[in-house]
Amino acid sequence: MKHSSALILDSIYFKVPELSILEGAYLEAQSGIITAIIGRNGSGKSTLLKIAAGQIRANPGITIIDGERFHNKSLNKRYRKIGYLPQDSMLPADISVKRLIKNLPASDKLNEDPLLQRIFNQKVVQLSGGEKRYLEVAMLFSFERKYILLDEPFTGVEPTIIDLIIDRIRDEAKNGKGILLTDHMHRYISEVADKGYLIHNKQCYNLARNFTQELKKMGYLK
């Protein structure tokens, strides 16, 4: 089967009262490949990721993960295959990093991470935005899921930590994970992604390998 090892969002429509956000969007993220979604504010990038992660329902639309079709949210089934990093932090502020990591399935891996060792005894509320983001990304990659959806992993993060996150993303893609990410920092996105989509006019347009040129052509960059 052609798409047996891919996460596909097919014919996705999504509207909120009096505003249509997506109209028949199609997107495909293959395993072992880093796929980027680029678009203006409010174009529907995060909405697409939320639909893929079952956080909201498309009306209508279908998510296909490795050939299995999901019409409903089906969270338990979806999260066997995917890990999802939301745009806003998903960590409880009043818990220590040590306690958080201890409760995770692959805590041994995370305990060995030098950056996480530095913040081990702090509470989540005491972490900087970048440290929190790195912790979330490291947690997601420790879950052993086939597809990882990252919604703005670089926003508010210092360049050295962005480099660490990019290295992590590349390593995981080499290990066969499919990464679907979106961010406004197009320089980093262009550097790391193998494949890209631009959301324009409520649709997903497949970008050629040289993102920057094509984004300029489509009026996304000056």
Partner: protein, 92 residues
Amino acid sequence: MIVYLAQKYIIYSTVFFVGLVIFPLGFFDNTEYVIVRGFFFGGIFGGVYTFYDFKKRNLWPLYDNLRYPKYLILFTCFIGFQSLYFLIKPFI
């Protein structure tokens, strides 16, 4: 993380329980009835409040990522909270 959710549920439900018991005790004679009702409605309101509190704080995606069934955990917490009645029954 299940313990964290249970802790929050117990705290919120206890607050509702206290509110639902202390106020009506001034009006009703039947203490046992008021306490049983306090546990039941305290458990329900606590569950609803916990759900919306976690939603507001964007914590549910973490539980989804961990593949923890949130509704089942909340229901189990509710049942556990009801069983606390049997602990305090001898003192009523």
